[in-house]
Amino acid sequence: MVKYFSCTGVLKSTWDQVCIAFWQRYPNPYSNHVLTEDIIFREVTPNNCLISRRLMTKTSRAPRWMERYLPKHMASSAYIIEDSIVDPQKKTMTTLTWNISHARLMSVEERCRYQINPENGSWTEVTREAWISSGVYGLTRAIQEFGLARFKKSVTKTMKGFEYVLAKMQGETPSRTLAETATERARETALAAKEKAKDLASHAHKKQYV
């Protein structure tokens, strides 16, 4: 049983600009969860398409009730692969992104298509599809719901990240204000403190049974 999700968005920049930004999107203020990024394969095909494979490490950000099902050493970060094909003749880019760790716990596969917006030739249309599944007996639905909710949030961050990078490339002042950054930092600090408190509480609780 797989949860499917799809959405379409627009980036108000040309397809060329979007492809250029695609390779420069990290880091950005919305990508604090992306720890490392590497191109691990790249080739120009005989019909002049660029195929690439990018490996990323991301923080796992799973809720405590899910992390219980992970072996200790896997809890903190996840490995993700992104394969892409850029066709400069057809002006299309297709990407496929999926996690190669934690996959039995939850598997998220995302396919995106970037093409010229049919209504405005200077804009780019982004069509996004995701398939979310889990193999944990008895928790499949809960994990898929969590996965879908987090995916939708991450789509917003992805598009904001893109817009930020595009604005910077085009010499504009990116619209993320200092106030927004401060609010997000405060929220992240509060969340980290809450997690730490939960951690300490659960250790204290465990100690009682030892």
């Binding site: 250029i20 990290y26 880091p27 590497d38 191109i39 790249r42 120009v44 490996l55 396919r111 599809e129």
Partner: protein, 74 residues
């Protein structure tokens, strides 16, 4: 942005700079005159592939666009 191999970040930066220039100025404009980044790519790959092995990252045998095979055309 950091590389997964701590020692590779500088090599990655050198390669990225070369690639970004070639991508915007040649590749996207249909200029097929060849890739000026093969040397920086080679050095970067030597480093990062070693780091991948050392950290046991399961990238081997993963087919290009593998998960796309069982999905309908959008």
């Amino acid at each position: 942005m950091n590389s997964v191999g701590e020692a590779c970040t500088d090599l990655k930066r050198d390669y990225d700079q070369c690639f970004n220039r070639w991508f915007a100025e040649k590749f996207l404009k249909g200029d097929r005159s060849g890739d000026p980044c093969t040397e920086t790519f080679r050095k970067y790959q030597l480093c990062v592939q070693k780091a991948i092995k050392e950290k046991d990252i399961p990238v081997d045998g993963v087919e290009f666009m593998g998960p796309n095979k069982d999905k309908p055309e959008s």
